[in-house]
């Protein structure tokens, strides 16, 4: 790690990693090609992007991506301590001081959970905008009937990438929230396994590179679900890149989850029983339990298709069975929906009492409802398959288990309404986003039962209604709460305040645009517009053409609003007003620390839990006690140059 | 100390014998019981039993609960 201190462009972890990826790719390509030459197999194909052959055979490209990923991890430096341990060399347990300081530390390996949290959040925003950009491309195509400027292949690639890259962005966003906040909220100085934490973040970068390289290697045609037999017969090499990119993103999810669970179980502060943890920690824990277990199944199913393509195995085509893939795939991908939304719902429950100045209504029920959702979520996967031709006797049980999800979700809604009731609400940007999230998640929730009920789903399956439904769920369960969290904890992370006017502008652009987009999608869906098609039946045009145009305009407005938010964050981090330690009068322990938070969080002065977490407005109540010697001393405003991400430009 | 040590090694020996006996039982059942349609049930049951012994005695799953206080010797 010492050589990193010298500085210079090539000392940046990200740059070293990318170089490593390129080297690994070349080695992988060469290795397989030479091996095939030795074995007397056809080693190369013509370079012909039209026919989707790219000089090297598919196995060589896959080997390149795998070795590229490994080389990336080796060169970025997150694994070096593990190699020392293998040789029997001891390393310091929390060596934060050995890493870069200032803005540059966000671009290099660090074991500090706060740096990793910011890295997750930043990457999430970048990937999120990229996925949104893909959406704008194919949304513009749909604005009018007929094909405008994309061909069918490009259209397929764009909507597939929009879906899967969004999912990666959401997983990264969830990682940002749980990595940054869980240790702070439970009073730990770091995660249980800091090196694993860094590894779990950095593996996402080569995963994203691999995933995106599919654009150049023939594109994708299956949609984000990658169903065989199409994903198996597709001649495009992009399919293989898609499978392995997602596989490594999933590995990040698994290892991150492992870390969150261990941290929560083993590292809580004195007095913090499970029923005194903040709700956000509960939801992060429930999320991690899904991520730890179910994610393996999507990894397995994608590997099996990849083996079909590479080694000619048979699982899902010919005498195999494509329904098996769907079972394996949805066993992850349905619970994954709860991975996406649970932390968001936890954020809502976390922020609502702060802005309503009232205790959270029904704390215990809300805490347990997160686990209720996670558990029931494991038993509902086949509701995605009502029309797939699976055994028909499975339909009704899965319908009932699906509708059962409404119970724990309803508990959350009752709690939110009960918390709002009679509260003294204030309307800062995070508060607005929380309220917006509740209204949108209600729409997402209410549009769910028609899809969960077999009889109606037979009509709704694969229409734009479904697209509208899950966009409402994702915006209400993740996007709005995520932005709420970003605005809410921004002063804590950067030490500076964001611009309130721009924040409100973001909200008031995004909310109506979202409603136009999602309700519009539901409408065209009910009128017969199918999802995943580049062009629609001309007979439909009189009914849906206007709505399609409106959806497209709304999509651009959403894009604009996100751009405003990002500009707000970047500029405020550099030049914003210096923030006070606790701008929201929160009771949460992380707000008892100065902003930005010092490297070792609570250091040798851990707090003790002495009360309930959400007793806002009750006189004389306190949640945590921080060593009185230390707390006032550290309340001083942070130094200007401290560690704001963009402060050095 | 010596007593404990003997006992610990003894557990290993006992579990090995049980595992090998069950494996031979499995092998015979799988190869010579000529009823393909139902033989999976006892075979899976035997596998569960074997796994139970390994997880309990070889992997010391109990240490997950008692690990912080326990001394190994």
């Amino acid at each position: 790690m010492n050589e990193q201190k010298k500085g210079g462009f090539f000392s940046i972890g990200l740059v070293k990693g990318i170089l490593g990826y390129v080297v690994g790719m070349v080695v992988g390509l060469a290795l397989v090609t030479v091996l095939r030459m030795i074995l007397g197999l056809p080693a190369t194909t013509p370079w012909d992007p039209q026919a989707k052959t790219f000089f090297f055979v598919e196995g060589a490209w896959v080997a390149g991506a795998l070795l590229g990923t490994i080389f990336f991890i080796l060169s970025v430096g997150v694994a070096s301590d593990w190699f020392k341990w293998m040789r029997g060399v001891e390393t310091p347990s929390h060596p934060q001081d050995a890493f870069e300081h200032g803005a540059k530390r966000y671009l290099s390996a660090s074991f500090d959970h706060k740096v990793i949290g910011v890295q997750y959040g930043f990457t999430s925003l970048v990937v999120f905008m990229l996925a949104g950009f893909f959406a704008l491309i194919f949304r513009t195509e749909l604005a009018a009937p007929g094909m405008q400027y994309l061909n069918l292949d490009q259209y397929n690639t764009m909507f597939t990438l929009h879906g899967i890259v969004m999912i990666v962005a959401i997983l990264l966003g969830v990682g940002a929230i749980s990595n940054y906040l869980v240790p702070l909220m439970i009073g730990a100085n770091d995660m249980a396994f800091p090196r694993l934490n860094a590894f779990a973040f950095w593996i996402n970068v080569p995963a994203a590179v691999t995933l995106l390289s599919s654009i150049l290697l023939g594109g994708l045609e299956t949609g984000w679900t990658g169903y065989p037999p199409l994903s198996q017969t597709s001649p495009s090499l992009g399919m293989s890149m898609f499978f392995w990119g997602v596989y490594f993103a999933g590995m990040s999810s698994i290892l991150g989850s492992l870390n969150v669970i261990t941290t929560t179980i083993r590292m809580r502060a004195k007095g913090m029983g499970y029923f005194r943890m903040p709700i956000l920690v509960w939801t992060a824990l429930a999320t991690a339990m899904i991520g730890l277990t179910a994610t393996q199944l999507i990894g397995l199913s994608f590997q099996m298709v990849s083996f079909e393509r590479l080694f000619g195995m048979t699982f899902f085509h010919l005498e195999g069975n494509p329904i098996l893939f769907q079972h394996l795939f949805w066993f992850y991908s349905h619970p994954a929906v709860y991975v996406f939304v649970l932390v968001g719902l936890g954020t809502i429950s976390e922020l609502l009492p702060v802005f309503a100045r009232k205790p959270l209504f029904g704390y215990k029920w809300v805490a347990l409802s997160a686990f209720g959702i996670a558990l029931v979520g494991f038993l509902v996967w086949a509701h995605h398959m009502f029309t797939s031709g699976m055994e028909s006797y499975l339909r009704v049980p899965f319908m009932y288990s699906t509708l059962l999800v409404a119970v724990p979700t309803g508990i959350k809604f009752f709690s939110w309404v009960g918390t709002l009731w009679g509260g003294k609400l204030s309307f800062e940007t995070p508060s607005l986003f929380v309220l917006g999230a509740i209204s949108i998640f209600l729409l997402g929730g209410l549009s769910g039962p028609p899809n969960g009920t077999v009889s109606t789903d037979l009509h709704l399956q694969d229409t734009y209604w479904i697209v509208g439904h899950f966009h409402a769920t994702m915006f209400g369960g993740f996007v709005f709460p995520f932005f709420a969290a970003l605005y809410y904890w921004f002063p804590k992370v950067s030490g500076r305040m964001y611009n309130e006017k721009l924040g409100k502008l973001h909200f008031f652009l995004m909310l109506p645009a979202f409603y136009v987009q999602s309700l519009g999608q539901m409408q065209v869906g009910l009128l017969g517009m199918r999802r995943r098609i580049a062009d629609y039946d001309p007979a439909l045009a009189p009914d849906i053409q206007l709505t399609q145009l409106l959806i497209t305009i709304a999509a651009f407005v959403i894009g604009l609003s996100v751009l405003i938010a990002v500009v707000n964050f970047v500029v405020s981090a550099a030049r914003g007003k210096v923030a006070v330690a606790n701008p929201w009068r929160s009771r949460s322990p992380e707000f008892m620390l100065p902003s930005p938070i010092p490297v070792h969080n609570y250091g040798d002065h851990p707090f003790e839990v002495i009360g309930e977490p959400y007793d806002y407005g009750l006189a004389g109540s306190a949640y945590v006690s921080i060593d009185p010697e230390r707390a006032p001393k550290r309340e001083e405003p942070p130094a200007v140059s401290a560690t704001a991400p963009a402060a050095t430009d | 100390m010596d007593e404990k040590k003997k006992q610990a090694y003894g557990i290993g020996n006992a579990i090995l014998i049980v595992l090998l006996a069950l494996t031979i039982g499995e092998f015979l059942l799988g190869n010579f019981a000529d009823v393909w349609s139902i033989v999976w049930a006892p075979l899976i049951a035997i596998a569960v039993l074997k796994a139970f012994f390994v997880v309990r005695d070889f992997m010391h799953v109990r240490r997950l609960w008692t690990g912080d206080e326990e001394e190994h010797a």
């Binding site: 293998m86 029997g88 001891e90 390393t91 310091p92 347990s93 249980a192 396994f193 698994i254 492992l258 870390n259 669970i261 261990t262 083993r266 730890l292 277990t293 179910a294 994610t295 393996q296 199944l297 397995l300 199913s301 099996m304 080694f311 048979t314 699982f315 005498e319 098996l324 394996l328 | 040590k5 610990a8 090694y9 557990i11 290993g12 020996n13 090995l16 595992l19 090998l20 494996t23 499995e26 092998f27 799988g30 190869n31 393909w36 033989v39 999976w40 075979l43 899976i44 035997i46 596998a47 796994a51 390994v54 997880v55 070889f58 799953v61 240490r63 997950l64 690990g67 206080e69 010797a73």
Partner: protein, 190 residues
């Protein structure tokens, strides 16, 4: 900073955290193997199985079980400070593990005639994943062996030995389920 200076209490705490992490990893890994196990019955049912050598199956299964026994003995010997017995048992474990790997990859695989059909695909998928885990387990054991020779572990502080042992037994448990699934349940098709 380093564990040399930590108290035994701190070491135990850290060990408990590591242990939980390891078990969570194993639970996660179980889902991969369970997925393959389910896929095998989904595609082949309980009436058919891949075409394999029964004698070889019994032999390698026995080898792996015995290796687990020696792993247990090695860990116990370490906990009681029985150094010579520890090294001997660990060596035998590594040797048996390697024999198992050779039995599967070098003997069984060529015999199984890979032809891309469903039964052989299932067979190679499941044995391949398992063999990969055996291989990593052997690496793990060799590293632990080398570090023991450097005198890094004592009767009180030997978490890496325990971790390697638990991982090795886990690989054994997986095989306990894969053996009947691949070798015993069902008759050979055709």
């Amino acid at each position: 900073m380093s564990s040399v200076t930590t108290t035994l209490n701190e070491y135990r705490r850290r060990e408990g955290t590591n242990r939980l992490g390891l078990w969570l990893f194993l639970i996660s890994d179980t889902f991969v193997f369970a997925g393959m196990f389910v896929a095998r019955f989904y595609l082949l049912g309980s009436g058919t199985r891949p075409e394999v050598s029964q004698e070889l199956g019994l032999a390698i299964t026995t080898l792996l079980l015995i290796s687990s026994y020696f792993m247990y003995t090695a860990e116990t010997a370490m906990a009681f400070g029985d150094t010579r017995k520890y090294y001997r048992s660990l060596m035998v474990t590594i040797a048996l593990g390697t024999l198992f790997l050779i039995g599967v990859v070098a003997v069984e695989w060529p015999l199984a005639h890979y032809d891309g059909s469903v039964p052989t695909s299932i067979f190679f998928l499941m044995t391949g994943f398992h063999a990969f885990h055996v291989l990593t387990g052997i690496f793990f054991l060799v590293i632990v062996y080398r570090n023991s020779k450097k005198g890094l572990y004592t009767a009180e502080r030997h978490w890496p030995v325990e971790a390697a042992a638990v991982y090795w037994h886990f690989v054994d448990v997986v095989w306990i389920f894969f053996y009947p699934a691949l070798y015993l349940i069902g008759g050979v098709a055709g």
